[in-house]
C-alpha cells in the first residue's frame, strides 16, 4: 500500500511538472504574476510529492517489502540497515528517483530564495526546471519504475551488490547527483538570461554561490568514489579512468573552467557568450554522462543494467534539452557582442582564457578517450581499449600546465602586468620551483612527472605563501597585532579571494599526494604459510594465522598479519576473503594501516586448501594527502560560500 502512495505521488508530480511548464509559458505571455505564483506552487508541490515518493521507497526497503520488484532485486533480509539505505539508490531505478528528487529540492529552494530579487527570471527558471523534471519523471514512470510490484513476492530479495555494501556508497551517489543537479540552477538562470535578453552580469552574480556549491558537491562525490574504489576494489588505486568515473569528471572540468571564467565577466564585463557556452556545456555533460552510464553504449564496472529502449528515450530527452540550450545561444549570440578590451597579453584576463583552454582540452581528452572505443566500433567494427596508460600519458601535460597557471593567475593584475610586477611576484616562486626540482633530483628521483610536478607545485605554493605572508604582515603591522591575527584580518578583508587560495592550496596538496602515491607506489605479491613473513619497503609482514570470521550477511577467511618496522610491532592487519551469503559473491576486503601520511595496504586475494595464502602488500606513500587535499579544497569552498556579504554583492 505504501509503495502505491509513493507511485501515485510521483504520477501527480509528473502532471504538475506539465502544469509548471504551461503556467510559466502563460506567465510570459500574459505578464500575469498569478501564473508565476501558480508555477511556484506547482514546483513546491512537486518537491513535496517526490519527497513522499522517496519516503515510500525508503520505507519499503526498511520494511523489507520484497513484493516491490526494485526492493527484491537490490536488497536482502540480512542486509544491514545502514547499507539498506545505500540500496535505495544502489540500482538504476532508485538512483534516478534520487536524481529527480534532488533536482526538485534545489529548484524549489532556488525559486523561493531568489523570488524577490529576480522576479523577471522566475518564469524561465520554473519552466526550465519543470522541463528537466518532466523528462526524468517520464523516464522513471514509464521505463524504469522503482514502484512496480512483483507478484508473487519472493521469500527473500537478491542482494545489493557486495561491492556497494560500503559506507562510502551511502554518500557517494547523493553527493555526485547534488553536483550534477546543482549546475542546473546556474544553467536555468543562464537560459533565462538568454531567452529574456537580460544579458548583464546579474545571472552570474546571483548564481555564483550555486555554482561553487554544485562544484564542491561534485568534487566530494568524485573523491568519495575514488576512496571507495581504493579500499573496496582491492588493488590499491583510486582512479581507474573508467567510463563512469570519466562521466563525472567531464562536467567537473568544464564546471571548473566556468567557475573561473565568470570572474572575468564580473570584473570586466567581457566574454558573455563564452560563459553562457561554458555553463551550457557543463550541464549538457552532466546529462550526457547520465546517458552514457545508463544506456549501455559504454560498458563499465559500474554501469547500471541497460536496454536500448531506455537509452533511446534518454537520448531523445537529452538531445532536446541540449538542442534548446544551444539553439537559444546561437539565435541570441549576435545580440551579445560585448566590447572586448584587452590592454595586454599579460593580464589576468588572458590567464583566465588560457586556464579555460586547458580545462576544455582536458575535458575534450577525457571525452574523446571515453568515446573512442564506441567510435572505432561504429566505424570500423573493431574493438579497442582506452585505459589508464593512455590517459596518464596525454592528461599529465595538460594537468601540469593548469597547475602552473594556478600559480600564475592570482598574481597577475587585471588589465596589464608590468615587467616590474612580474619580477616582483614571480622571481622567488621560480627559484623555489627550481630548488624543489633540484632537491628531488639530488635525492635520486628521476621520474619526469615527479620532477616537473615538483617545479610546478613549488612555484605555485611559493607564490601563494609569499602573497599570504605579505598581506598578513601588512595587516599585523597596521593593526599592531601578531602575524596570525594579521592573517585572519587579511583573510576576512577579502574572503572571496583568500578562500579561493585555500582551495588552490588543497589542489597542490592533492597533486603531491597523487604524484607520490602513483610514482612511488611499491607493490609485492607473495605466497606464504602461517609463520612465514615477507619484507616490503621498510616493513616486515608476518602471517600469524588464518581463521574464519562471520559477519551479518557474509562469512570470510581472515588472515592476521603482523606488521613490524624493525622489531617493533606496528599493527596487526586483517584482510579478508569474503563470500556474501545471498549472492555467493566473493570479495577481497583490504586492511589498511596509516603511517607517515602513507598507507600500508594489504589484501589476501586467495587461500588454497592446503593453507597457502596469497598476500598482496602495497605501500602508498603520502596517499593521505590525496584525501587531505580534497578536504582543504572543500574547506576553501565552504569559506567562500559562507563569507559575509559585501556591499556590492
Amino acid at each position: 500500500m505504501i509503495i502505491e502512495i509513493g507511485h501515485f505521488s510521483v504520477v501527480i508530480a509528473l502532471v504538475l511538472s506539465v502544469f509548471g511548464i504551461v503556467s510559466s509559458g502563460l506567465a510570459l505571455r500574459t505578464r500575469d504574476a498569478d501564473w508565476v505564483r501558480a508555477g511556484r506552487m506547482a514546483l513546491t508541490l512537486i518537491f513535496i510529492l517526490l519527497s513522499v515518493g522517496m519516503a515510500a521507497l525508503i520505507y519499503s526497503f526498511l520494511a523489507r517489502d520484497f513484493s516491490v520488484h526494485y526492493v527484491a532485486t537490490t536488497s536482502n533480509s540480512q542486509l544491514p540497515l545502514f547499507y539498506t539505505i545505500a540500496a535505495v539508490w544502489g540500482g538504476h531505478e532508485g538512483s534516478l528517483l534520487l536524481w529527480v528528487f534532488i533536482l526538485s529540492a534545489f529548484s524549489t529552494i532556488a525559486v523561493w530564495l531568489h523570488w524577490r530579487t529576480q522576479p523577471a527570471i522566475m518564469p524561465y527558471l520554473i519552466g526550465m526546471e519543470c522541463l528537466v523534471i518532466l523528462g526524468f519523471l517520464l523516464l522513471i514512470l514509464f521505463l524504469s519504475s522503482p514502484f512496480d510490484r512483483l507478484i508473487p513476492a519472493p521469500p527473500d530479495g537478491k542482494d545489493l551488490n557486495p561491492l556497494l555494501q560500503d559506507p562510502a556508497m551511502v554518500m557517494h551517489p547523493p553527493m555526485l547527483y547534488m553536483g550534477y543537479v546543482g549546475f542546473s540552477i546556474p544553467f536555468s538562470f543562464a537560459m533565462a538570461a538568454l531567452l529574456s535578453g537580460r544579458l548583464g552580469e546579474e545571472w552570474i552574480k546571483v548564481t555564483q554561490r550555486w555554482t561553487i556549491f554544485a562544484w564542491v558537491c561534485l568534487t566530494t562525490g568524485i573523491l568519495l568514489g575514488g576512496y571507495w574504489a581504493y579500499y573496496e576494489l582491492g588493488w590499491g588505486g583510486y582512479w581507474g579512468w573508467d567510463p563512469v568515473e570519466n562521466a563525472s569528471f567531464m562536467p567537473w572540468l568544464v564546471g571548473t573552467a566556468f567557475l573561473h571564467s565568470v570572474m572575468v565577466q564580473e570584473k570586466r564585463k567581457m566574454f558573455k557568450v563564452w560563459n553562457l557556452f561554458l555553463i551550457i556545456v557543463t550541464f549538457s555533460l552532466s546529462l550526457i554522462g547520465t546517458f552514457l552510464v545508463r544506456s549501455g553504449v559504454l560498458t563499465s564496472v559500474h554501469t547500471f543494467a541497460t536496454d536500448p529502449e531506455r537509452g533511446l528515450y534518454i537520448l531523445i530527452f537529452v538531445t532536446m534539452i541540449i538542442g534548446i540550450a544551444f539553439g537559444s545561444l546561437m539565435l541570441r549570440a549576435n545580440k551579445l557582442k560585448s566590447q572586448i578590451e584587452m590592454d595586454s597579453m599579460v593580464s589576468r584576463e588572458s590567464v583566465f582564457l588560457f586556464n579555460n583552454l586547458f580545462f576544455l582540452v582536458a575535458a575534450a581528452t577525457v571525452f574523446l578517450g571515453t568515446l573512442y572505443p564506441l567510435m572505432i566500433e561504429t566505424w570500423q567494427g573493431a574493438k579497442v581499449t582506452v585505459g589508464p596508460p593512455y590517459y596518464n600519458a596525454v592528461f599529465m601535460p595538460t594537468a601540469l600546465g593548469l597547475l602552473f597557471l594556478m600559480g600564475v593567475g592570482p598574481y597577475i593584475p587585471w588589465r596589464k602586468a608590468s615587467r616590474a610586477s612580474l619580477q616582483k611576484n614571480f622571481l622567488i616562486p621560480v627559484v623555489v620551483g627550481v630548488l624543489a626540482t633540484v632537491v628531488l633530483f639530488a635525492l635520486g628521483i628521476r621520474s619526469f612527472f615527479a620532477l616537473t610536478g615538483a617545479f610546478v607545485v613549488g612555484f605555485s605554493g611559493a607564490a601563494i605563501f609569499i602573497d599570504v605572508g605579505k598581506i598578513s604582515s601588512l595587516y599585523a603591522r597596521r593593526e599592531s597585532i601578531n602575524l596570525l591575527k594579521g592573517f585572519l584580518s587579511a583573510f576576512t578583508s577579502n574572503q572571496r579571494r583568500y578562500s579561493g587560495l585555500v582551495t588552490h592550496v588543497g589542489v597542490l596538496v592533492l597533486v603531491i599526494g597523487i604524484i607520490a602515491s602513483t610514482v612511488y607506489q611499491t607493490e609485492k605479491v607473495v605466497s606464504l604459510r602461517v609463520g612465514d613473513e615477507f619484507v616490503i619497503d621498510d616493513y616486515r609482514v608476518k602471517l600469524e594465522r588464518i581463521h574464519d570470521v562471520r559477519g551479518k550477511n557474509w562469512s570470510a577467511q581472515e588472515g592476521v598479519f603482523e606488521v613490524y618496522e624493525g622489531d617493533t610491532l606496528l599493527t596487526k592487519l586483517r584482510p579478508q576473503k569474503r563470500v556474501y551469503d545471498a549472492s555467493q559473491t566473493p570479495t577481497t576486503e583490504s586492511a589498511i594501516y596509516a603511517k607517515n601520511m602513507g598507507h600500508i595496504f594489504l589484501t589476501m586475494p586467495d587461500v588454497s586448501a592446503d593453507g597457502v595464502a596469497v598476500a598482496r602488500g602495497v605501500i602508498n606513500p603520502l596517499i593521505l594527502w590525496v584525501w587531505g587535499g580534497g578536504g582543504i579544497m572543500g574547506l576553501g569552498v565552504l569559506l567562500n560560500i559562507f563569507r559575509p556579504r559585501k556591499r556590492d554583492e
Binding site: V273, F291, S295, G296, V297, L298, T299, T306, P308, G311, L312, L315, T319, I322, G323, F326, L329, M330, A333, N334, L336, L371, L374, M375, E377, T378, G381, A382, K383
Partner: protein, 191 residues
C-alpha cells in the same frame, strides 16, 4: 558568434547524436574474433571420459568443429542438445570430426555432466585454460570451425541456439565439407 562557429557546434552535436544513436544498437559484449582466417593452434590433451590422449595431429585434413564448454556454465546446457544433433547430422561424413574442449572444470563434474546430458563425440581436457587462451576464448560456450587446411573459418560466441545451428550447418559446414581437399585452396591466407 560567427557563422563558422555556429556550423562547427552544429556539426559536432549532430555527429555525437548519430554516434550515440548507432551505439545504442550495438552489443557491448560483441567482440570481433581476430583468429578467423588464421591457422588454428595445435592442441593435445587427455580425453575427459577415457583419459586417452587426443591431439590435433590425428584430425589433420578434416573439418573440425571445436566447442568450448564447462559443467558450471548454464548456457552450455542450452546448446548441448543442438551439439549432439550436429554430430549426428554430419558424423557419417568421412572428413568431419567434432571435439568438445572442457574448459576450467573438475574432471568428475565434467564426466557427470556428460553422463547426464549425453555424449557422442570426444571431449578433451583444458584444465588450466591455456588452450582456451590459444584460441582467444573469452568465456564458454564458444564454437570454432576449422577447415581441412587447418584454418579457422568461423567462430561463434554464445550458445548454438536453433537459428545459429541452421546458419552454422547450412552456410559454414556444408560448403567446407563439399570443398575438395586441394592444398592450394585459399591456403594463401594462412599465416
Amino acid at each position: 558568434m560567427t557563422r563558422t562557429t555556429q556550423i562547427t557546434i552544429l556539426v559536432v552535436l549532430l555527429a555525437l547524436l548519430s554516434l550515440f544513436y548507432q551505439g545504442l544498437w550495438g552489443d557491448p559484449r560483441h567482440i570481433p574474433p581476430v583468429l578467423v582466417d588464421t591457422r588454428a593452434p595445435v592442441f593435445e590433451g587427455p580425453n575427459v571420459e577415457s583419459g586417452e590422449p587426443l591431439s590435433s595431429e590425428q584430425y589433420k585434413g578434416k573439418v573440425i568443429v571445436v566447442n568450448f564448454w564447462a559443467s558450471w556454465c548454464q548456457e552450455c546446457k542450452v546448446e548441448h542438445e543442438n551439439l549432439l544433433r550436429l554430430y549426428d547430422e554430419f558424423k557419417d561424413h568421412p572428413e568431419f570430426v567434432m571435439l568438445g574442449i572442457n574448459y576450467q572444470d573438475e574432471i568428475p563434474k565434467a564426466r557427470a555432466y556428460l553422463q547426464r546430458y549425453g555424449s557422442s563425440f570426444p571431449h578433451m581436457q583444458d584444465v588450466k585454460g591455456a588452450l582456451a587462451i590459444d584460441f582467444g576464448v573469452y568465456g564458454v560456450p564458444e564454437t570454432f570451425v576449422i577447415d581441412k587446411q587447418g584454418i579457422i573459418r568461423h567462430k561463434w560466441i554464445g550458445p548454438i541456439v536453433d537459428n545459429v545451428y541452421t546458419n552454422l550447418t547450412k552456410n559454414v559446414l556444408t560448403p567446407l565439407l563439399q570443398r575438395a581437399d586441394t592444398r592450394s585452396l585459399r591456403s594463401g591466407q594462412a599465416t
